[in-house]
Amino acid sequence: MTDTALASAPSADPARKGRMIVYVVALLIGLALAFAPFLFQDVRSNQVAARICVFIVLAASYDLLIGYTGIVSFAHTMFFGLGAYGAAIALKSMGPGWDAVLAGGVAGVVLAAILAVLIGVLSLRVKAIFFAMVTLAAASVMMVLASQFSDFTGGEDGIVYSAPALFKPAMKLMTDDAGKVVKLFGVSMNGKIAAYYFVFLTCLVLFLALMRIVRSPLGTVLEAIRENEMRAEAIGYRVVAYRTSVFVIAAVIAALAGTVWAVWLKYTGPDTTFSFAIMIDILLMVVIGGMGTMVGAVIGVVLMSLAQFYLKDLMEAAAQATANIPLLPDLLDPDRWLLWLGLLFILLVYFFPAGIAGTLMKKGGH
């Protein structure tokens, strides 16, 4: 409805331009990630790039819920954690092999799907607003369980394990005649590279799958439901069934991202998976990037990840500069960066609820 109105309005041209900008930025990010090991050759950057890949999938699958379906879940990190813990527990107990990744990943994904069905059926049939509360409760219970059943999960300490042999730094993907690792553009073709491209490619596939889903007939139905739930119901869509299936799809993708994350990190603990801080991160990423756009997730994740580094540096400097004033240094402490992000977030939801990508795509680039 709004789309057609916009298309005929004089703002159509800037909107197209805005869309272009958004897609070009997303494409550049994609290219940067594709060549990250060559572009940024230190360990830390590699780590950041892999994290961005995984979080793009996580945020995009969350966008499927919040942006395309209009339901707010706080259980996304729970599913992410299930996938991660599945792989981690299997890798720890079965040894570092692909069989363990597969078995653990599948177990985590299946558990995530079952839980998603259960939560969806129980709470979505009543009122969507229950859903946010129920998922929040479920996620925190899962977090407590993970820390209490420490025989399995390693409790607060988490689990350390080895990844499959292919990803070991000592693994030689390409050797020259002398049997030494080949360097391409200054980058050794060892297991680290393999691990990064494993992360990059699986995340790319998952992201493309999500793009496919929102462009499919299912995406159209979801849009109809989001626009006017009552009307959609009246037309005959089974709203609860659709919402539950989307919730399950998002849960499965989050769990898969968790498995990938666990394989990359070789460590799984509450702080890297279940924590509520990560849930808030994802929420901020999607809203800042732009709900209901998918590419917004890409932009949001990159911005947040960069902000996490640079905003902290900036605050560090500001805190030192104001060291003599009471309270202010406490508020400017780098550990308080979420305070400022929170404020920014509130302003954003007020003034630009469509987020960066959404605002650009609607109003044009100026």
Partner: protein
Amino acid sequence: MSKPAHIAAMFDRIGGVNALPVVLMIIALPLIGSFSSWVTLTVAGLAMGMMIFLMASGLSLVFGLMDVLNFGHSAFISFGAFIAASVLAWLAAWVGADSLTLNFLALFAALGAATLFGLAAGWFFERVIIKPVYSDHLRQILITIGALIVSEQIILAVWGGSPIPVPRPALLEGSFVIGDVAIEVYRVFAFFLGLAVFIALTLVLNRTRIGLLIRAGVEDREMVEALGFRIDRLFIAVFMTGSALAAMGGAMWAGYQGLISGALGGEMMILVFIVVIIGGLGSIEGSLLGALLVGLLGNYVAFIFPKLALASNMILMMAILLWRPWGLRPAVGK
């Protein structure tokens, strides 16, 4: 009469859902085994339930009246707890004094400061955070989450990240001992404070014109306006009261725990959500019922299977959602 129908009829005769806490108490007795432990746990459960009731009732009413779900509600709980802790620490001389009057004054000051803060913060929160996003659930959730993040960070900035001790007024220390059963004074106080608030709320809701308007507004906001009343003014009053009660509950909880950290708000919020879902959004009686169930079950299970305490409440919530999707005692019409 078939068997399920028979059971259902019996259930209704003993008081329907209202009897659930009592049923739970009776079932717990043989499982726990020792009578004195059972009494201790039951008192702890009831006290905890009443404190959670304080925190939950406002959230539930606010939702019932305006369809506003405030995810930042736990900020009031945290602030209440920390403010009470600060006031008690500041009045350490009164708190430790061997005088009932000074003890009382310290307690009164702590609860009063927390409650007043709740009122003021509630007003600010409603005007600045909630009002612009009435009737838009998604943005409501997002904005209140944003406010929650900011509040938690402010608490961290002001009170620091490490747990702080909460001094308890001397008059609330110690226990009543009856035979081999010891009952902590603080728990009894918490129980009766919660009960007093419940009675006061019930009286206001059922006996006053404002209460009548609130009950009507929970059912049909538009019609209340069409009868000539400003629902938004009513709402801000309810919101402020709910925030004040949450802060009071947080203050009580701080004294109960003796040691509080920034995580307190988040932990209580989970219980509060479970309580309002179990009880049914929009009803005070439902909140009380849900809170007592959660308090009792939490304490019993913590004794019998320590690891499952929180999970048990989750399972209770799931079971009740299956049985009554709208909660045990939802407000009529919701």
